[in-house]
Symmetry: C2
Subunit: 113 residues, 2 copies
DNA sequence: CGGACATATCGATGCTCGTCGATATTGCAC
DNA sequence: GTGCAATATCGACGAGCATCGATATGTCCG
């Protein structure tokens, strides 16, 4: 099953924000992406995982530092994964999430220099 | 009265997202900024204004293209202005909003390359 | 002054979403 | 198989917010 991530769609469909008026569809997709970043818990998750060896961490390693319940952390990780910002790999009982290199650059380019 | 804009604070306080774990305060501020961008109407406002001569527009020029009520548009413009993304200048009865150059770059740099 | 117009503010409403506890699911170890 | 540990899903609750109509504020013009 191939799942197209939000950031992949954005990469192919959206012009630079300040270059031309966005149509409703492009604006909606872009807004979705920024909404993913618009939560403190998710930003901390990203930066927390990025600072680990291999830019990866299993769920149990980030629950306590975040100070949120395990279901809530799992929820945020899912959103980050669905957006295409985190890779997900199962290793036995553990699930490791890894920062996908260069995915944030998709947004960077749309924001301009 | 000097008002410090959200993006100015972020510029001075926040490390690159993927460089080190964000503390709660920095994460909160950054999330606030992305929340401003996390709405289709505000993204369309930004791109709409940016594509006008002088990168500016008065409120009455953007209400109709957006398809939202005047109070709602005014509300979104206020949020963009409070964040530091739009300048506000009153000319008689009209109020012109202008894209502040380089403000989006504050976020760009925090997202990394 | 008084009316017309542009914009902002207010109050209300409905929806989205972050959060949690409870529970289901999966995989390992004994 | 049975029990335990890690993770995901579910249902519910509450806060936040986008939106609107009504109204206030401010400005120009005659």
């Amino acid at each position: 099953m191939i799942v197209v991530k939000l950031l992949d769609v954005i990469q192919d469909c959206c012009p630079p924000l300040l270059a031309a008026p966005l149509d409703e569809e492009a604006a909606g997709r872009l807004a979705e992406a920024f909404k993913v970043l618009g939560d403190p818990a998710r930003l901390r998750l990203l930066s927390l995982i990025a600072s680990r060896p291999g830019r990866e961490a299993c769920v149990c390693e980030v629950v306590e530092p975040l100070g949120l319940s395990q279901p809530t952390v799992s929820h945020h990780l899912k959103l980050l994964h669905d957006a295409g910002l985190l890779d997900r790999e199962k290793r036995g009982t553990w699930v490791y999430y890894r920062v996908v290199p260069g995915r944030l650059a998709v947004l960077t380019e749309l924001l301009g220099t």
